[in-house]
Subunit: 509 residues, 2 copies
């Protein structure tokens, strides 16, 4: 990790209360971060937008299930056997390393998906020793990266913290398909924590041991892999980096619409293409620019055990290069078929397509858009981060700004702080996320509000006491208007919703 933009952003993030390492009081714990008040608000707003996309617009059913899974579920899903990383240990100091990360760091080579024997050979050939003490590395083996626990007393029932939220959606499939009235395709969404007991996490908030996920499982008839609303996204341009190009060693992208990608067989079916375009639109809507987004097809060695075709939705960052913020996986009927076998339960659907005379019993296939919420959050921060001669600040989309409005008394006296606090409370009671600041010059207070991306600052001055009006200042134009106090909450709400333009919101100052 270089000492670049990431460090710069994280420094502000810590001081202003976006993000900081967890358990600092006890020396910290690698792979765990807290979201402070601003980070928590930003995350909440990103998730609200995600729900608007997947639950409201797309009509997915949303569920909310436990983080603790009994072992049987993860036996069936394959995670007990396959959710592993390859680990190696130093014979001198005992430090442990995840082998693909280590080799990448030391040689630049990507060996994900290799056999352990080949990895070992490469390490020996390249004389890779312990980066910490130089000791020799030994005991290469698979390490299951699930956190293990037990339910109940006396040893209990073996359980794990879920490696993905997806599995309860498969386990609940029979209830869910009844709720969806046996129509296909239908999607089920879930937001929640996921856990991965990384051997040695080293990438700050990009590689966490506990993270927030937002996942959707779309169940469909493999003989009809279309999407009824494909029309809505078919012209969305996508920048694809195919597995074939990667194998050739070409960093050559294909620029193509969602529709053409299917026609040219670049993407396996219309449903997957729909969700790739839809996921990309979500990123645009939270302020990630078009030109730092690409869709990279996973090559055969790196795909998860359940996947037939997977595309990573990636965002370019300054310090980590292209970061996967979502995976779009074609999981086939792998999961339903495994759970059906392990639980000895029929999970087929009797499905009759409109216009067809007879129905068929089918085991639906699955396309999964799966977002890493913390990574989206970081990418939103990096791509909203503006550095100018006047200072550094986050230019968040208005709807995402963690603090919606700041309230300032012009001076600390003459009853202005009291008046300001009353106005603050009225705005808060109306549901506006507003903060109060009375320390330092107005200029310093504007700068502090700007730094965290606050779109509107409200100043209470002596005129307020005379005619009950206040000024609103717009972050982006720095223009100011004067409005009546009684109209203030509604104006701010309408400005945040984009219902009115700033200039028409009051009298120009």
């Amino acid at each position: 990790m270089s000492d670049g933009k990431y460090e710069n952003i994280m420094e502000i993030a810590k001081n202003r209360g976006f993000i900081w390492p967890s358990f600092e009081l006890y020396g910290g714990a690698a792979g765990f971060y807290d979201l402070g008040p601003l980070g928590s608000s930003l995350k909440d707003k990103i998730l609200q937008e995600w729900r608007q996309f997947y639950v409201n617009k797309e009509g997915c059913l949303e569920i909310d299930s436990p983080n603790i899974f009994p072992e049987e579920v993860l036996k069936a899903s394959g995670h007990v056997d396959h959710f592993t990383d390859v680990m190696i240990e130093c014979s001198e100091c005992g430090e442990t390393y995840e082998v693909t990360d280590l080799v990448k760091e030391m040689t630049g080579r990507d060996i994900e998906g290799w056999e352990k024997e080949d990895m070992e050979e490469l390490i020996n050939e390249n004389n890779i020793g312990c980066p910490k003490c130089g000791g020799s590395l030994e005991n290469i083996h698979d390490f299951n990266t699930m956190f293990r626990t037990a339910i109940g007393p006396k040893g209990g029932r073996t359980a794990y913290l879920r490696p993905e939220t997806a599995q309860t959606i498969f386990v609940d499939f029979n209830r869910l398909q009844r709720l969806a009235r046996r129509k296909l395709p239908f999607g089920v969404a879930q937001i929640g924590r996921g856990y991965r007991n990384e051997i040695s996490p080293r990438k700050g908030i990009i590689r966490l041991r506990e993270f927030s996920m937002a996942e959707v499982e779309v169940f469909f008839d493999p003989e009809n892999p279309g999407h009824p609303k494909f029309e809505r996204v078919k012209d969305e341009p996508m920048r694809l980096w195919t597995a074939e190009a990667q194998k050739r060693g070409d960093e050559e992208y294909i620029e193509v619409t969602a529709e053409d990608a299917v026609e040219r067989d670049l993407i396996i079916n219309e449903l997957l293409s729909y969700h790739m375009a839809f996921a990309k639109r979500f990123l645009l809507s939270v302020g990630i620019p078009e030109d730092v987004i690409r869709l990279r097809e996973q090559v055969s060695g790196e795909r998860a055990h359940y996947s037939k075709e997977t595309w990573d939705l990636e965002v370019l960052t300054e310090d980590f290069g292209w970061v996967e913020v979502a995976g779009l996986a074609y999981r086939t009927d792998y999961d339903l078929s495994q759970h059906s076998e392990f639980s000895k339960t029929d999970l087929t659907v009797y499905y009759q397509e409109e216009g067809e005379e007879e129905g068929r019993k089918i085991l639906p296939h699955v396309v999964e858009p799966s977002f890493g919420v913390d990574r989206v959050l970081y990418c939103v921060m990096e791509h909203s981060f503006i550095q100018t001669d006047d200072g550094e600040y986050f230019k968040f989309n208005r709807e995402l700004a963690p603090v919606e409005a700041y309230v300032f008394p012009l001076i600390d006296g003459d009853g202005l702080p009291e008046e300001s606090r009353e106005i603050l409370q009225t705005m808060r009671d109306e549901g506006i996320f507003a903060k109060y600041d009375e320390s330092g010059s107005i200029g310093r207070r504007y700068a502090r509000a700007d730094e965290i991306g606050t779109p509107y600052c409200i100043t209470i001055d002596h005129q307020t006491l005379e005619d009950s009006t206040v000024t609103i200042r717009d972050r982006d134009s720095t223009n100011q208007v004067r409005v009546k106090v009684e109209e203030l909450p509604e104006k701010i709400e309408d400005l945040l919703d984009g219902k009115i333009q700033f200039e028409e919101s009051g009298e120009s100052v």
Copy 2:
């Protein structure tokens, strides 16, 4: 658990997709429940209202931190030593029991807080055997009810799933007090999962092993335990059941305002009284009626190890009696003092009150409102549940209704389904949580929508095709109005927000 209202509600809850037992496919796991699409939406809306109360109106800082805690944190907090239940085992069949639950069930006596020796004596005296096989009970001992895990490879660092969200707020105190600019009092909120590895959970969603919490820690100067906004709640009536009355054996409540409760020394200070009244108002706002709410003071034996005075905010239910949905605990400086000692870090604040000449170094005290979200959810369901001759339904507050509007084509043909789907999509794109139903008579569809508390049903009929108008039906009055399609989303939004009355929203039908 009797076969009463709870079973009745849970039956509908399962069928319609509010709540069902987790991992049913694998025989279930006691103490774990999933929220289906309706339950998840209802929970989200309850939490939005909670945020409006505590984060917006009250101005608390909200944070979001990991579920996994390294052991040191919980050593310091006292949970490793004190977060225990008393367990006893059957010498024949090996079944395990939580002793206070077992004794309550078998004798009706409440022995919470008793010494283990006294419990054992009582069991022997009353000849209590294993309820399952009649075998004798033995090996009474403390069982720590935290879920244990480990971070990292090779045995790792001992860790637990958090028993409460509160602890990261204490661990982060130094960062948080800087963000609050060293002003007192200030509150910090956190919403997230909590875990308790119950010995043998038996009360459905009232006693979970994994649950959702919404907690606030309010830090204050013990010499000035007032609340700057006490004025706003001082007249709130509260029904108190004091520890003294309980010790006397009286089920006698004191009806008193928040202000009088402090003046009469019934509540230890103004800040705690403020938060008791505020928490009660939150319950009212999500539809729990005044007359099923009480505040019960915990008696000395049942208080947690950190508490000096605790009031349980309780709601009366038909099958579980009075259920604690929130605890209002005066935690003193216990937590900050413990973390300060264990981490060898100074956690005092240099605090200068307005008007005072000199500041003081103080270790703030804490008042904690802590909500069990799943219990609030259940109580909202029970107290919204209406049984009439026409059927059973949930009369949720409009703002809480999990589905905001249903869209129906009058008949399945003549282009009405297509038109309906277009209107549905427009409403969804505008952020309304709307569903579609085309099966059965309109009467049946109204009934299904009513059952889950949907406030508005929109019907598309032949007139729609002619003049682009639809009908809206109001759940509570069953009145209908006709409105223009283009005005529909805004009308529904305004109706949900209570900005317009139903009768004035369109032309009466």
